[in-house]
Each structure stands twice: as structure tokens, then as C-alpha cells.
């Protein structure tokens, strides 16, 4: 079993960066990191192998984060995340924070357009369809899509590039296909 000081040295930066990524100030991130390690300390002797320790520190850390959000009365994760990288900015059109009110959803996706969209998406290869959904529906960056799907970033770009051509052909008369889909 590693000594607690070794555990701290191994994971302190990762935990601190996690809270910074979640949008907390330097001081808040430091406080939350301290709180995480105080909780880790209570049970560190019960963990006997490095992979379990890593998962466990991650679990404690995310619990501390969720507790803080709950304490703040945040119903949603309102903190602005810092991007993993700034290589491919997402256009306002694919801003993940935007969601349509229900009545507007009904208006914009009625009848034939809805069916055409559903068919075109269903006909895409699974990997391509997932890339498109993560990019357009969720607004993820290329690198994030690569991490989520466990594929290379170049593969993501290639899949989106191909998808753009396919969707333009099938859906061009129904929808605006954004230029930043795969270029």
C-alpha cells in the first residue's frame, strides 16, 4: 500500500486541475483539493493496488465536486468548463448550451423533414453517426469526440468530413449543413 504522502504527490495536481477545469477559482480549487485528500486519508489503508486507488481518488474527487454543487444549490452544472484545447472552436450554431423550447421543437421538426433526418442519420455508419451527433447535437470539440469514442482525432475529422458530403447530398434541401462540421 502506498504511503499517504506518496498518494498526495501522485494525485494532487490531477485533482487540482480537475476542479480548475470545472471552473472553480484557484483558491476554491485548492480548498476542494484539500477536502478531497482529507477524505482520501480516511480510507487510504483500505486500497491495495494502484488502479483501484486511481479510480477511488477519482470517485472521491467527483463526490466532493457534486457535493459542492449541491451545497451551492446548483441544479445543473452551471460552471463554465475550460476547453481541453483551443484548436477547434465550436461555432454558435453548435453551442451545446442552446436547447429549443418544446413548442419550437415541434414546429421545426415536423413531417417530412423529421423523417428525412431520421433516415439520413440511420443510414450513416455507426461511427460516423456518433461523430455527427457528438459534434452537432452535443457541441463537442474534435479532441473530446476522440476521447469519448476512443478513436484518433484524425479519424474524427475524416468521419465528419465524409459525413458533411453525405448529409449535404441527402439533406441539403431541408437543412443548413454547417461548414465547420468536418473542415
Amino acid at each position: 500500500m502506498p504511503k499517504f504522502e506518496e498518494v498526495f504527490a501522485e494525485y494532487f495536481q490531477r485533482v487540482f486541475y480537475f476542479f480548475r477545469r470545472k471552473g472553480f477559482s484557484h483558491q476554491d480549487a485548492e480548498d476542494l483539493t484539500q477536502e478531497t485528500f482529507l477524505r482520501v486519508f480516511e480510507h487510504v489503508e483500505g486500497v491495495h493496488n494502484p488502479p483501484a486507488l486511481r479510480t477511488w481518488v477519482f470517485t472521491v474527487m467527483t463526490n466532493v465536486w457534486r457535493n459542492r454543487l449541491r451545497d451551492q444549490g446548483a441544479q445543473k452544472r452551471a460552471h463554465t468548463e475550460v476547453a481541453l484545447d483551443g484548436q477547434d472552436e465550436v461555432s454558435p450554431a453548435v453551442d451545446r448550451a442552446v436547447s429549443l423550447p418544446p413548442e419550437q421543437e415541434e414546429q421545426v421538426l415536423e413531417g417530412e423533414r423529421r423523417e428525412q433526418l431520421r433516415l439520413a442519420m440511420a443510414e450513416l455508419a455507426p461511427r460516423m453517426r456518433r461523430c455527427v451527433r457528438l459534434r452537432l447535437e452535443k457541441g463537442h470539440k474534435y479532441k473530446e469526440i476522440a476521447v469519448i469514442l476512443g478513436i484518433k482525432i484524425d479519424t474524427v475529422k475524416a468521419q465528419l468530413h465524409q459525413a458533411k458530403a453525405i448529409l449535404k447530398e441527402k439533406l441539403g434541401e431541408y437543412f443548413d449543413i454547417p461548414d465547420d462540421l468536418g473542415d
Partner: protein, 245 residues
């Protein structure tokens, strides 16, 4: 026809009309997925879930960033001095002594407590020895799997357990409260939640019960959830991830 609609807006509207993603994979499965340890069929199921589920996809991104250990964009990396200063600050808040620091102060106890404790200690020594001995024997046996239940709600290590599917496995549960008289176990495929094996308590020694023996090669390699129930309750006492390679 109405104005041309952005494809992104249309996809969001289409997704909003679909049922919400449920059956979130346990963290142990997401960890195995992120590390590339899941069989491809299981990984495909997880991928499909991640596309629809913001919560789980965010967790996978967090896991990747946690592994990467690099500062977020715009932040300077922490220096060794920063880490050392944080350690010094934390040390002041830690209880003295090695963890877990739950030291009983005899000086503050009433006088009758020590003799009483001695009697109790004598009466339970045999049982404690037997439990400790059993556990030690089992720990030396690589085919024994101990799942430590924490019914207080403060879970210890997430039950990410990887075992070979080609060897038989005795599954034990520790931390079963004495008032729970019957315990049963279900092994569910993580892929679809189907129960592939189930069993009931076979032997209890203190708070440890033997729940089930997974015969060699009866379970295919893959991701499973081990669900433990008490006293025929519908809600499980605890759930663990089990990866068989």
C-alpha cells in the same frame, strides 16, 4: 416549407423527442472502457450510450483529463513548491498518526469499561481469530474475490475487479450487517442487465458470507455487475463492477 433549419438544431430537437438515456454504466465499466479493456461488443454498447448521455460522456472526458494530468488551457502547471506548500497545509489538518487515525483514548473512559471490554474481548477472540484466519487464507487464494459492502453510503474503492474467466471464482461479501439474515447475489451482464447467474448465501462467518462460486468458463469474458441483496429486498445493498478477461 419553413426557413432552412440548422442541422444542429434539428438534431437537438430529434434527440429531445427520444427517451432519456438510462442504465448508466457503473464507473468501473467506464474506467475499463476508457482504458481500452472492454471487449468490443461491450465497448460498442458503451459508445452508443455515451453519444446520448451527457453525464457519462462528461465522466469519460474527466477520466481522460485525470489520466493526462495536464493543466487546463490558460493555467500554468503547478510547481513542486506549490505541491509541497499544499502538503504542508494539508498535514496541519490531518489527525496525528498513521491512517486511519481512530485512536481510542482509554483515559477518558469510565472505569468499568475496561474490565467489560476485557470480558468482551475474551469472548469474541475466538470468533475474531477465526474470521481473520479465514480471510487470510482466502486472501492467499487468488481465486477468492472479496466485495466489501459499505451500507453507510460512503463507498470505499469502486468495485472495479478484473479476473480471469478461465478460473473458478469464490465470491464473498464483507460488511454484511448481522441483522440481515439472508443474502443473495445476482450476476448481471452489463450489456443488457440480463441475470446470468444468481445464488444465495452459503456460509456466514461473522460479517463475511460466501455468496457464490463462479465455475470456470461458465461466464464469458466481458463486463458484469455483481448485485447483492439482503432479506429479499428489492433494492440492492451494493453493486460492483466485474470485468472478466
Amino acid at each position: 416549407m419553413a426557413r432552412p433549419l440548422s442541422l444542429a438544431e434539428a438534431l437537438k430537437a430529434l434527440a429531445a423527442s427520444e427517451p432519456e438515456a438510462r442504465d448508466h454504466p457503473p464507473l468501473s465499466v467506464l474506467v475499463a472502457y476508457q482504458e481500452g479493456r472492454l471487449p468490443e461488443e461491450e465497448a460498442e454498447t458503451v459508445r452508443e450510450h455515451l453519444v446520448a448521455c451527457d453525464e457519462c460522456s462528461e465522466q469519460v472526458l474527466d477520466l481522460a483529463a485525470f489520466e493526462e494530468a495536464s493543466p487546463p488551457l490558460g493555467d500554468h502547471p503547478l510547481s513542486e513548491g506549490d505541491v509541497a506548500a499544499a502538503w504542508e497545509k494539508l498535514k496541519k489538518r490531518l489527525p496525528d498518526g498513521p491512517p486511519p487515525a481512530r485512536v481510542l483514548s482509554f483515559a477518558r473512559l469510565p472505569r468499568y469499561v475496561l474490565p467489560l471490554a476485557a470480558c468482551l474481548a475474551l469472548s469474541v477472540t475466538a470468533a475474531v481469530w477465526w474470521v481473520a484466519h479465514s480471510r487470510e487464507v482466502a486472501r492467499r487464494n487468488p481465486d477468492s474475490l472479496y466485495l466489501a459492502l459499505d451500507q453507510s453510503g460512503t463507498r470505499g474503492p469502486e468495485g472495479s475487479v478484473t479476473r480471469s474467466a478461465s478460473r473458478a471464482l469464490d465470491i464473498y461479501a464483507q460488511g454484511i450487517e448481522p441483522y440481515i439474515t439472508r443474502v443473495r447475489i445476482e450476476i448481471r451482464r452489463d450489456l443488457d442487465g440480463r441475470v446470468v447467474k444468481s445464488g444465495k448465501e452459503q456460509k456466514r462467518v461473522g460479517d463475511t458470507v460466501k455468496l457464490y462460486t463462479v465455475p470456470a468458463k461458465e461466464l464469458e469474458p466481458g463486463a458484469y455487475r455483481v448485485v447483492i441483496y439482503g432479506d429479499d429486498q428489492e433494492d440492492p445493498l451494493d453493486t460492483f463492477g466485474l470485468i472478466l478477461n
